[in-house]
C-alpha cells in the first residue's frame, strides 16, 4: 500500500511539474494544486500506514496510526489553501491588467 501511495504521489508530482512548466497561467495554478496533492500523499505515506487505528483515543486499539504526519498535513493543507487562493486571485488580477495569461508575454524587459 505504501508503495502504491508513493508511486501515486510521484505520478501526481510529475503531472504537476509538467503543468507548471506550461505557458498558461491557469494550468500553472492547477499544476501547483496537483503538485501539492502529491506532496501531501508523500507526507502521509511516510507514516506507518494502516498499521494502527484511527488516532482517536477511545477506539481502544492496541496501536494507532501515527498522528503527527496527519497534524502536519492539516497545517500544510491550510497553508496551501491560503497560497492557492492568493495565487488564483493574483493570476486573475494579472490577467485583467495585462490582458494575457501567457507567461511568455509576462517576461518583462531588462531595462525596467
Amino acid at each position: 500500500m505504501e508503495t502504491l501511495m508513493t508511486i501515486t504521489a510521484g505520478i501526481l508530482l510529475s503531472i504537476g511539474t509538467y503543468l507548471i512548466l506550461t505557458k498558461s497561467l491557469l494550468r500553472i495554478v492547477l499544476g501547483t494544486s496537483i503538485f501539492t496533492h502529491g506532496v501531501h500523499i508523500m507526507l502521509l505515506s511516510m507514516a506507518g500506514l494502516k498499521t494502527g487505528a484511527v488516532p482517536l483515543l477511545g477506539e481502544d486499539a492496541a496501536a494507532y496510526t501515527d498522528p503527527i504526519p496527519q497534524a502536519l498535513m492539516l497545517t500544510s493543507i491550510v497553508i496551501s489553501f491560503a497560497l492557492t487562493a492568493f495565487f488564483l486571485v493574483l493570476s486573475y488580477r494579472t490577467y485583467k491588467t495585462f490582458g494575457t495569461d501567457d507567461m511568455d508575454q509576462l517576461r518583462g524587459s531588462k531595462y525596467e
Binding site: 482517536l56 483515543l57 477511545g58 492539516l74 491560503a82 487562493a85 486571485v89
Partner: protein, 140 residues
C-alpha cells in the same frame, strides 16, 4: 448572484440551518472526534456563502453587518492572546489547561483553554475565507 426562486430560498434557509448546526457540532466535536476549529470554521463559511448566494450581497450585508476582515483579525487575536495569557501564570507561552466542571443540565463538562484557542481559529478562518470570497465576488 441572485436566485429569485422562493422554493430555493426556503430550501437554502433550511440547508443553512442544518449546515450551521453541523458546523457547531464539528467545532465542539473536535476535541475528541474528528472536527475542530478549522473544519468548523470552513463549514460555517460554506453556510454563510450559501446565505450570500441566496440573498444578494446587498441584502446579505444588511442582515450580517460585519466586516469579515475584522472578524478574521479578531480570531487571530484570540488565538494569540490565549497563549499570551500564560505569561500571567508564569508558564510557558501557549500553555493550555483543562478541567472538568459539573454544570447543571450538561453534567460533567470539560472546560479547556484550548477550546478558546480553537474559537480563535474558528473565527479567523471564517473571517479570512469570507474576505477572500467576498473580495472576488464583488469584483466579478
Amino acid at each position: 448572484m441572485k436566485f429569485s426562486n422562493v422554493m430555493l430560498e426556503t430550501a437554502t434557509k433550511i440547508i443553512i440551518f442544518i449546515v450551521l448546526t453541523f458546523s457547531t457540532y464539528l467545532f465542539f466535536a473536535g476535541h475528541h472526534n474528528p472536527g475542530g476549529g478549522f473544519i468548523g470554521g470552513l463549514v460555517m463559511t460554506a453556510a454563510i456563502v450559501l446565505f450570500y448566494m441566496t440573498f444578494d450581497v446587498v441584502t446579505a450585508r444588511e442582515v450580517i453587518p460585519v466586516n469579515f476582515r475584522k472578524i478574521g483579525a479578531f480570531g487571530a487575536l484570540i488565538a494569540v492572546t490565549t497563549g499570551v495569557g500564560s505569561f500571567l501564570f508564569d508558564v510557558p507561552f501557549l500553555t493550555q489547561s483543562f478541567t472538568y466542571v459539573d454544570l447543571p443540565l450538561f453534567g460533567e463538562t470539560e472546560l479547556a483553554t484550548s477550546l478558546l484557542f480553537d474559537v480563535g481559529v474558528f473565527l479567523a478562518v471564517i473571517g479570512s475565507v469570507m474576505t477572500i470570497i467576498l473580495s472576488i465576488s464583488e469584483d466579478v
